[in-house]
């Protein structure tokens, strides 16, 4: 199982790097989906099949489909491909890469000083996840749902199209 863990981790990292360097949005999204699938395999190997299934259903199966949907609707042409190519110039990515490399070095140093082994034996199933969500973390869950409701109402408000005629008639007949 350790080999599965390392192979899927390598796939996840490689897919993420490829995702960042693609110039076409749909190709980048496809690599991101592969990366999410690899993370789901990692969750499964670590003994969290429920989280793995949710990762697939919610992230890979729903949110990414919405991303692809929006990209398809926009149907970006060659112009955006050129703009994306310009973004890959070294002056754009060297700064963030150096900062990220510092964080990575810190992380490797901490791991080298006796980190946590990747494979844990405990399996956390749906029952445990459900009990902890609706037990100690109940307030967090409720706050999140209220936040989502707020987002939903806001999106509906932004998306609802007012008929343009009504405002004009109001202005001309005060």
């Amino acid at each position: 199982m350790t080999i599965v863990f390392y192979v899927s981790s390598a796939v996840a990292i490689a897919a993420t790097v490829l995702m960042l360097t693609r110039v076409r949005a749909v190709h980048a999204l496809l690599y991101l989906i592969v990366s999410l699938l690899a993370v789901a395999v990692i969750f499964y190997v670590l003994g969290a099949p429920f989280v793995a299934a949710l990762e697939l259903i919610i992230y890979a199966g729903a949110i990414m489909v919405l991303f692809v949907f929006v990209v398809m609707l926009l149907n970006l042409g060659e112009e955006t491909v050129r703009a994306e190519r310009a973004l890959l110039a070294p002056s754009m990515w060297i700064g963030p890469s150096v900062l990220a490399a510092i964080l990575l070095a810190e992380f490797i140093w901490m791991l080298a000083r006796g980190g946590v082994p990747p494979a844990q034996a405990v399996s956390i199933g749906p029952v445990e996840v459900g009990i902890s969500l609706f037990g100690p973390y109940l307030i967090g869950v409720e706050l999140t749902s209220m936040l989502l409701l707020g987002g939903l109402v806001g999106a509906y408000h932004l998306g609802s199209r007012k008929a343009p005629h009504t405002e004009v008639t109001h202005a001309t007949h005060p």
């Binding site: 749909v26 099949p49 697939l56 199966g61 489909v65 692809v68 949907f69």
Partner: protein, 317 residues
């Protein structure tokens, strides 16, 4: 966790599902003909059974054409995705006691996950073809399958509540006294509709509506790549029929006959029902489809879940 003969189960399920999927082409045409008062294919072999073979030879020898303006890698990958995801789902389908590839604890969620990944096949096919009809088909498919997936999952949660498990074998075992179709009739109807929408069968075949979009998302496909979409669709029908059987009609449970025979009888019944739906129902308008899904089916699924939860809670306490 796994079956006693894993390799045998894998081979058996693969061979049976793929043969059945090919055979369905003949069955569907004959049944449609029967219900529409005509003959259907009856020339090649006994009852026209060898029509399947003739069709397959034809489709293998057709020119496999990739349009020069298409996004090649995605164009080639798209038809494979649908077949792979549906076949993966069959891994957790318990055909009879011991005949299962992997008895996952989160089997039902795995099936839902695979079905939600199957959307990419249609969407990417539509996008990579770089053709306005294909793109429209892909956009429709994304919107339709995303909307109907929401209450597809919700409609099954009543069954999960009653069985107390996501494991498909445990769900079948929980129906020894009473099939879940009785306490979960609303859930069954919702799942049937969502299942038809997920497989993009008539009356939910708007992504490939021939009268308006040529062939929708697979307009540019030919040869065996088109064949993969076809096989994927029939595999999807078989999968949804298997799931209905397992979740609502007691899977392999039944008197006298051996379990596997009961399972096949029930599955064939629902496959025939899907074909009957195609023969009988017209196609709705796309806005009707969307408003139906979000304004009627989703509230019904939520109400079903709420009431089931309340009843189960009252029963246990």
């Amino acid at each position: 966790m796994t079956s006693p003969y894993p390799i045998l189960s894998i081979l058996g399920i693969l061979i049976v599902t793929l043969t059945l999927a090919a055979g369905l082409i003949w069955l569907e045409r004959r049944l449609l003909a029967l219900w529409q008062d005509r003959y259907g294919p009856n020339r090649v072999g006994p009852f026209g059974l060898l029509q399947v073979l003739a069709d397959m030879i034809k489709i293998f020898f057709k020119e496999d054409w990739i349009p020069p303006f298409a996004d090649k890698a995605v164009f080639v990958a798209a038809p494979a995705i649908i077949v792979v995801t549906v076949l993966m789902s069959f891994a957790v389908v318990p055909v009879a006691p011991g005949i299962i590839v992997s008895d996952l604890d989160v089997g039902l969620l795995f099936v839902l996950a695979m079905s939600s990944l199957g959307v990419y096949s249609v969407v990417l096919a539509g996008w990579s073809s770089d053709n306005k009809y294909a793109l429209l088909g892909g956009v429709r498919a994304a919107a339709q399958m995303l909307s109907y997936e929401v209450f597809m999952g919700l409609s099954l949660m009543g069954v999960v509540l009653l069985a107390g498990s996501f494991n498909l074998t445990a769900i079948v075992e929980a129906q020894r006294n009473l099939w879940f179709v009785a306490p979960q009739f609303l859930g069954f109807v919702l799942f049937l509709i969502a299942g038809a929408a997920e497989t993009r069968r008539l009356p939910f075949d708007l992504p490939e509506a021939e009268s308006e979009l040529i062939a929708g998302f697979h307009s540019e496909y030919s040869g065996m790549k088109f064949g993969m979409f076809f096989v994927g669709e029939y595999l999807g029908v078989i999968l949804i029929s298997c799931l209905i059987t397992i979740l609502f009609f007691g899977g392999w449970l039944g008197p006298v006959l051996p379990p596997i025979v009961w399972f096949l009888i029930k599955v064939m019944f629902f496959i025939a029902f899907f074909i009957l739906m195609r023969a009988a129902l017209p196609r709705p308008r796309f806005d009707q489809l969307m408003s139906w899904g979000w304004k009627l089916m989703l509230p019904l699924a939520l109400a079903n879940l709420l009431i089931t939860g309340a009843v189960v809670l009252a029963w246990r306490s």
